[in-house]
């Protein structure tokens, strides 16, 4: 028997103790939820069924005609994670982070810097620069990035609290297109790897968690689903299943042939 199967704690107790840390803050939920592209009325249900503890929001010019405040719809128990979407340079991202902080939601910031409007790919170089500036100012910096090992190492040196590589182009629901490179980051980077952007199905979130990702971020997969709260719940279950599988250690894969799991003696024809 392995150590884990000898554990006297129940699976529920072991999972309740499972957590990861971002900038000194402990999180039990490994599902980070975006709040874009669905009606404000659905945000509360999505957050509750996702059991998310971190929810991303964007900073935009206030519209006087828009009387609804998103903060009235997000449960007070969650930590807000403002992103810097719309930024094209490190300086613009820093400016947006400062405005987010002035809006009063703590020190977390997800850096998103994109100069390409067709594929919306993150600019790793500008992201590294912004990470360095904001980490020095005391922000808990979560940079969205293209999964490149050297860039990820530079983000570690710049003071990032986690690294958020994309699985596929943002909003595409195409799944783990960068799977091999996500695995390299998981194996080599000594920070939580949060797989962000492109995950379209719960099975893909589960696969990323089995690979050892610390958490999953999703938005479009839910926002474009038929039933948002039900899909939020499906993602929650899939992420938990993947995490349990990772913690248990996946069974081995045979290169060739087969291996019986039934007894090899006592056949009726012997």
């Amino acid at each position: 028997m392995t150590e884990s199967t000898k554990s006297t704690k129940s699976i529920e107790e072991r999972m309740a103790e499972d957590s990861f840390t971002l900038g000194g803050h402990k999180f039990h939920s490994r599902f980070i939820l975006g709040s874009g592209k669905y009606s404000l009325e659905l945000i509360d249900a999505a957050v509750r069924y996702a059991e998310a503890e971190l929810v991303t929001v964007a900073v935009r010019r206030a519209n006087t005609k828009e009387k609804e405040n998103i903060l009235d719809y997000v449960p007070k128990t969650v930590t807000l994670l403002p992103n810097t979407s719309g930024a094209r340079t490190a300086e613009e991202a820093v400016r947006i982070a400062h405005l987010a902080k002035a809006l009063g939601c703590g020190d977390f910031v997800k850096i998103e810097i994109m100069r390409d409007s067709k594929y919306l790919l993150p600019d790793n170089n500008e992201t590294i620069r912004a990470t360095e500036i904001l980490a020095k100012e005391g922000f808990v910096v979560l940079p969205y990035m293209y999964p490149d090992l050297y860039a990820a190492r530079a983000l570690v040196d710049a003071g990032a609290a986690a690294v958020m590589p994309l699985a596929a182009p943002i909003g595409s629901n195409k799944g783990l297109a960068t799977k091999e490179f996500l695995q390299i980051l998981i194996d080599e980077i000594d920070l939580p790897i949060i797989v962000d952007a492109g995950i379209g199905k719960p099975s893909e979130a589960c696969a990323a968690m089995e690979m050892g990702a610390a958490a999953i971020m999703a938005n479009t997969a839910l926002a474009t689903a038929g039933d948002v709260p039900l899909m939020a719940s499906a993602f929650r279950d899939a992420i938990r299943a993947g995490r349990k599988a990772y913690l248990s250690g996946l069974g081995r894969v045979l290169r060739r042939g087969a291996a019986a799991s039934d007894p090899l003696t006592g056949f009726l024809h012997d």
Partner: protein, 65 residues
Amino acid sequence: MVTINGEAQARDGMMLLDLLKEADYDSRAVAVEYNGAILEKAAYETTVLQDGDVVEIVCFMGGGA
């Protein structure tokens, strides 16, 4: 003229807090950048808009991946 969220408006001499009230912004839910610097909320009632000022009024909106 004062540039407010990218739009030129004749608000010279107006108190910032009065602008926010008149335009019906929820001052609790917005942050204000005045000529490139973020203002404390207490400064809304001491800041008088002048010709050439640039004001950005921002809030949180839904966003994610």
